[in-house]
């Protein structure tokens, strides 16, 4: 298939449709508006339904209903809207319903701004709403990678009966890059015999997250935790860049990883052995990647467009073996390679 120049947000919509998504419920919020706009145009062409809800709260509950009815369904929003969806996401996770949720992050807290940020990492990877649950979370770094991960996400959601979140940022949503839509790896999926489609010819199905007997609810929680452990065992993904002999390993995801890559190349040109570990899944966090790093690593530097969120997972994983440093810009300010290089040199100066 020929490459096509597409805006990130529109590519999100097309990827979902190619993956069999036929239902989309959303609410306008910058910087992701091209997603619902694209879906409103395209879904009727493929026999699907786009519906603009009265709020993000309502949209995520429409997703709950449609997912419970057995459909491939998606919603998208940006930070403040994703906060509003947290109640519904908790119910979806509790009821074990598959769906795909897009968060094109903007700076916060509160109404914040509309420039790109990565300040929703905690919310995305640590549950977000109430209760013990996790989303499966991908953090793509290019429009092409985002397309591929979204196309896979619907299968992953169905496979685990769990919501999958794509954590992008305003840059990824707004920029145009060449993309192609190639078939992705398919999983063996069980029929959705639990869906509420009407009970003709079978026992009735109930989609529910309520359990008033504590022991029964605990059993359900144990089952959920087993599922998250299975994700940790089998689904971690990452990319290593110039890490073979690296002394300083950057850890960065999404848009920030692209900036860090430039910084790594410039540092290498100056004879400094830098590399980068880029998490592709952020839940499960790619702990296994750290075990693959060479003994040459003297320090880590996590770079984020936040006040320091992913760095906590880096510290938990490194567990004191090497120092873990952090550099971040917040509120929609994008770090430059020059700033990053300066911090890297300070660290290496200090370590030597």
């Amino acid at each position: 298939m020929a490459k096509k120049l597409m805006k990130g947000n529109e590519a999100i919509g097309e990827a979902a449709i190619q993956a069999g998504c036929r239902y989309f419920f959303g609410y306008p919020i910058t910087p992701q508006n091209e997603v619902p706009e694209y879906m409103s145009r395209r879904l009727p062409e493929v026999g699907g339904v786009f519906l603009q809800a009265e709020s993000e709260v309502s949209a995520i509950n429409m997703v709950y209903g449609a997912a419970g009815a057995g459909a491939r369904v998606m919603t998208s929003s940006s930070s403040p809207g994703i906060s509003l969806k947290q109640e519904g996401i908790s119910y979806i996770a509790g009821s074990e319903l598959p769906c795909v949720i897009i968060n094109i992050i903007r700076g916060g807290p509160g109404l914040g701004g509309i420039q790109p940020a990565q300040s929703d990492y905690f919310q995305a990877t640590k549950g977000g709403g109430h209760g013990d649950y996790n989303l499966f979370v991908f953090a793509p770094a290019s429009v092409q990678e985002m397309v591929e991960l979204i196309m896979e996400s619907f299968d992953i959601a169905d496979y685990y009966r769990n919501p999958v979140m794509i954590l992008g940022d305003g840059t990824l949503g707004q920029m145009m890059e060449p993309v192609e839509f190639n078939p992705v790896k398919k999983r063996d999926l069980k029929p959705k015999d639990w869906a509420t489609t009407g009970c003709a010819g079978r026992e009735r199905n109930i989609v529910n997250s309520l359990s008033l007997v504590a022991e029964e609810l605990e059993d359900h929680n144990i089952k959920l935790q087993k599922k998250y452990q299975e994700m940790k065992d089998n689904e971690q993904r990452w990319d290593l860049y110039k890490c073979d002999d690296a002394e300083l390993v950057f850890v960065a995801y999404g848009t920030t990883a692209r900036i860090v890559k430039s910084a790594v190349n410039q540092l290498r040109d100056q004879g400094i052995k830098a590399g980068m570990l880029r998490p592709i899944t952020i839940f499960p966090f790619p702990e296994k990647a750290f075990a693959q790093l060479p003994d040459s690593v003297k320090a880590f530097l996590a770079v984020e467009m936040s006040a320091g969120q992913m760095v906590e997972d880096v510290r938990l994983t490194v567990n004191g073996k090497q120092p873990v440093h952090f550099y971040g810009r917040t509120a929609g300010v994008i770090p430059t390679p020059a700033e990053i290089i300066k911090v890297a040199k300070e660290i290496l100066g200090g370590e030597r």
Partner: protein, 248 residues
């Protein structure tokens, strides 16, 4: 022996958790009878809400989803849009529908969402122990309006049927009561009509049913039924507020 009375097929063989004298049981039965009469149990998907009817999924013998507080109309929308031929209904109380879920019910009605809503209005939060509801009458004592609801402090109760009847998408809006047998028969008719309106694709249908809460009203069951008639019906007049004939 001739069988003269039996459980509707759309109800499970489960004892409900409702308090003695509460009319939820009657309203469940009327809803189930309507589903049976129309022969739609096989394609029915009900949405239980949060409040006393939170366990409705245990009682309605059809596919069910349990929704977050107030969100049942949004959940029902998701189901109905995926399966337009299914018979989708929500069963909600006044705290759920008229307070936290006001946006969801208004917009489901405004979209003319082809679902049926059974709205049980007993003017109080039952499940949480008798707090003031948006439908609590002026002067009515609850655990959060211990001096009686004061309009100057927290406004007047909301008349949902009248409010929704202003929306062109609402094809059928009726308020009924189940405090005596003639009214129960009328309620049955209205609920059946609300399902018929959905299945014929005319639009959104809601039946508001005035109900009791002997436990939290602090009244005996009979006294509660009289209270509906003497106090609630004056502020909440019964009748059809919008019928499909008016829908152009």
């Amino acid at each position: 022996m001739k069988l003269v009375f039996e459980r509707p097929k759309a109800l499970t063989d489960r004892q409900t958790h409702y308090c003695p004298g509460c009319t939820h049981g009657i309203i469940h039965r009327l809803t189930a009878e309507a589903i049976d009469d129309l022969g739609v149990r096989d394609k029915a998907v009900g949405v239980a809400s949060v409040g006393c009817s939170v366990l409705a999924y245990e009682y309605f013998n059809c596919d069910m989803q349990q929704a977050a507080h107030g969100r049942a109309p949004a959940v029902a929308t998701g189901i109905k849009r995926v399966h337009p031929d299914n018979c989708v209904f929500t069963y909600q109380g006044d705290g759920d529908l008229a307070s936290i879920g006001m946006a969801e019910i208004v917009h489901a009605a405004a979209r003319g969402e082809k679902i049926t809503t059974i709205f049980v209005n007993n003017a109080i939060y039952g499940m949480t122990g008798g707090q003031m509801a948006p439908t609590t009458l002026v002067g009515q004592k609850t655990t959060t309006s211990p001096y009686g609801r004061q309009a100057e402090h927290c406004g007047h109760p909301i008349r949902i049927s009248e409010l929704l009847a202003t929306l062109p998408g609402a094809a059928y809006v009726a308020r009924v009561s189940v405090h005596d047998v003639p009214n129960i028969l009328k309620a049955k008719k209205a609920i059946k009509k609300a399902f018929e309106v959905q299945m014929s694709g005319k639009g959104f249908a809601i039946v508001e049913v005035l109900s009791t809460c002997p436990t939290n009203w602090g009244m005996a069951p009979l006294e509660s039924l009289s209270w509906v008639k003497e106090n609630m019906m004056e502020y909440y007049p019964l009748g059809e507020y919008r019928t499909p004939e008016e829908v152009k």
